[in-house]
């Protein structure tokens, strides 16, 4: 019955590898987001998709690419991982944009060695 789910929950990998994080929501929401939380707990938006269309693309390296195969999924692909990519990545969804509550997934803890 999880509303927003992410896999994997933990991801430990070597520098230079390519990895993906998956996100799925079963709330029927139109908008999905990816946030990054750094080691100091600071949360910042990375991407936002509305009905499979990219709405927000903050200043994020090209190595990060979101992919939305359908409205319920927003996956995050990361190429050539760097040490600085280590963080917790949160997926979220909302019915529409800001006016509606965003529901967050449990987070994916990425550690790049």
């Amino acid at each position: 019955d999880t509303a927003v789910s992410q896999t994997p929950k933990y991801l430990v990998t070597q520098m230079g590898n390519d990895k993906s994080i998956k996100c799925e929501q079963n709330l029927g929401h139109d908008t999905m987001y990816w946030y990054k939380q750094d080691s100091k707990k600071f949360l910042k938006i990375m991407f936002s998709y509305n009905n499979k269309e990219l709405i927000i693309n903050e200043t994020v390296p090209n190595r990060f690419s979101p992919k939305s195969p359908d409205k319920a999924h927003l996956n995050l692909h990361i190429n050539s991982l760097e040490l600085g990519d280590s963080a917790v990545y949160f997926c979220a969804s909302s019915q529409d944009r800001v006016q509606e509550t965003q529901y967050f997934g449990p987070g994916t803890r990425l550690l790049v060695l």
Binding site: K41, N50, I55
Partner: protein, 113 residues
């Protein structure tokens, strides 16, 4: 530019004592304001939100917050803290034109017996 300031990085209160967590925002228009809580190793859960109307909003777990436009503040309060309230608390403002949340840096709440 929109921003959210949580001036207190870490607060410790005794169980049963009252709590107030401060939040100030900078936003050009009428803001949509949120408080989220993050328990250790968990995702974010919405405590309450303000869109319009009554400036005192009630949330879950006995929390409330008051929107004060003149002070650009949205402080979170609870009359009697429980040990289970120990967590990280994030204030956020909804950036309407961008469609995402802008978070403060969080306030860590510790509760002592």
């Amino acid at each position: 530019a929109q921003s959210v300031t949580q001036p207190d990085i870490h607060i410790t209160v005794s169980e049963g004592a009252s709590l107030e967590l401060r939040c100030n925002y900078s936003y050009g228009a009428t803001p949509y304001l949120f408080w989220y809580v993050q328990s250790p190793g968990q995702g974010l859960q919405l405590l309450l939100k303000y869109f319009s109307g009554d400036t005192l909003v009630q949330g879950i777990k006995g929390f409330e917050a008051e929107f004060k436009r003149s002070q650009s503040s949205f402080n979170l309060r609870k009359p009697s803290v429980h040990w289970s309230d120990a967590a990280e608390y994030f204030c956020a403002v909804g950036a309407i034109w961008q469609g995402n949340l802008i978070f403060g840096k969080g306030t860590k709440l510790s509760v002592k017996p």
